[in-house]
């Protein structure tokens, strides 16, 4: 019997679902070349360079031609700030959460200690409670703490404590840790301990064994955990929404703010850039991973 047999119904459904998944993205990208200032109707692609008649009556100088909205985007300082914040938060929280989460995975998989059951339970919390509950919890904690310290220490002006990059970063670390731990633990479960024993027999101490044997073998798990933490952080809206402050706006928060006002095709240009960047990064990672597994096969 052919294991790859699929009925016509399954094929048609698959096609429709893929269409459903991609149609909005195609619309999104198409509109980023829209020759209209208000992004309500598609007024055709921008075709010429130089002075440009936008629908409406204004004439716009467009040295970038079809990429007019991308140039406008690059000039938009709010967007650039938000992009910088988003990346700062994502990188800092990913690195921290990956280290902490890997440590936790080692502890839970290899050691018996007091508080083990409690630790396991606490790692499930971010998965089973809605994000908004976590978001407002952290908001309440920080706002109460900050009010308290501002009053006690009599802080004024810019010295006053408030929400900002730091509060967003620690929140992102918190929701990323459980996912890193889960992925690394899964990798540890299929782990052949004899390699480590061999290293110890050959005279390596625990630290050397860890650096030279355990960690390299765990690396694929650690990296996919890190990738997961990174995408979670980039994509996060809810927790950031409640924990950000003036000056720590991220791209999702910035876009959300725009959606309630007038939207120009700049938002679409931003989305197009976003999709392209993430797509390229992930393809590159896949290629690297593929190359690594191929070289491992050759080595064997």
């Amino acid at each position: 019997m052919n294991p790859y047999r699929r009925s016509l119904f399954v094929k048609v459904m698959t096609f429709l679902v893929y269409f459903f998944l991609y149609a909005p993205i195609i619309v999104l990208i198409t509109y980023s070349f829209n020759a209209s200032r208000t992004n309500i109707v598609f007024a055709g692609f921008i075709t010429q360079f130089g002075p440009l008649q936008m629908s409406g009556t204004t004439v716009v100088q467009s040295p970038c031609g079809p990429f007019h909205w991308f140039c406008e985007l690059a000039k938009n300082r709010e967007v650039m700030n938000a992009a910088r914040n988003t990346l700062t938060i994502a990188f800092t929280s990913t690195i921290s959460a990956t280290v902490i989460g890997t440590m936790a995975a080692l502890a839970l998989q290899r050691y018996n200690f007091r508080l083990k059951a409690f630790s396991e339970l606490s790692l499930y919390i971010p998965i089973v409670i809605p994000e908004i509950v976590m978001g407002i919890g952290i908001l309440t904690l920080f706002s109460q703490l900050f009010t308290f310290f501002n009053n006690v220490l009599n802080l004024t002006g810019s010295a006053r404590l408030g929400m900002g990059l730091a509060t967003v970063i620690v929140s992102h670390i918190t929701f990323s840790i459980p996912f890193v731990t889960m992925v690394v633990r899964a990798r540890l479960q299929g782990f052949d301990k004899s390699f480590e024993e061999a290293a110890m027999d050959l005279g390596a101490n625990e630290l050397v064994t860890f650096w030279r044997v355990t960690l390299p073998m765990l690396m694929p798990g650690v990296l996919s955990g890190a990738l997961m933490a990174f995408t979670l952080s980039l994509d996060d809206f809810v927790i950031t929404f409640f924990t950000n402050g003036p000056g720590s706006t991220t791209l999702p928060i910035y876009v959300f703010g725009l959606l309630r006002k007038i939207i120009t095709p700049q938002v679409n240009a931003l989305s197009t850039v976003w999709i392209l960047v993430v797509f390229t990064v992930v393809l590159a990672l896949q290629w690297l991973q593929g190359r690594e597994s191929r070289s491992q096969k050759a080595w064997k």
């Binding site: 919390i125 089973v128 919890g137 009010t147 809206f237 999702p252």
Partner: protein, 307 residues
Amino acid sequence: MLQKLRENQNIQGLILILPTLLFMVGLLIIPLILTTVVSFGRRSADGGVIYTFTLDNYARLFGYSTTCTNGAASCFDPLYVDITVRSFWLALETTVLVILLAYPLAYFIARSTPKRRTTFLFMVLVPLWTNFVIRVYAWMMILRTQGVLNGLLGAFAGLFHIPFTPFDMLYTPGAVLVGMVYEFLPFMILPIYTSLEKIDNSLYEAAADLGANPLRTIFRVTLPLSMPGVVAGTILVFIPVMGTFIVSDILGGQKVMLVGNLIQRQFLDARDPTFGSAASLILMVMTLIVTYFYTRKFGFGEEIIAV
């Protein structure tokens, strides 16, 4: 002393888990306790919290009202009960629709050649990498009265000379449902695929040998064996839908009020953190109950990390 540390499993384990515990206790458990305490408090005039013990917030959520139109001292106001029921119902509708759409696709991928599987899975993930908010925005452009869908329908009607007036799709409950389904579809496809992929082909062969037709095989072999994936997917879809406020805010035009919107407004516009805390605790308890019974009945395994 170093020797002692080397041999002490307990201390080594504790050192490794300590940073995790700091974050989990400091930024999850303490905030949850604080939320509980605040939910029993009262709102101060400037939107702060007065710490007392009152059940007023919960009473309000369950419909107890002191501002009645008929002049009575207290009456039943279904406003918040309605919001809760609506959120629950929407989460249920979304989950069912998502399962119906995700299952055939996951099945298709699981029964592709191993080489093609990677590509098809990759194609599921790409939409997920465009940002959540950006995806909502895309639907805004599609569903708008002068938007893409009405444009296409108009062009189609024009071909057959049928008179067509664009109709309002954005800012309706239907738009919210479509948005939710779109946002969470990939979270269902991946776990279902993971559990389908594990099913050994010999089981299908055995079913066929024993005379089961394809339909019977689906219902007696495929579906039961893929239940862990469906359960994991349901948890990944149901819980976030219950608490989301962006989709309803943007696609519902602030006309579709869900628990998430209620909570968000208490913290930002209405400035009543005590009432918002009570609402979020109710939300948490509801999702925990659903998760508990659902996983106890079916159980879920490693499928939950498939995403």
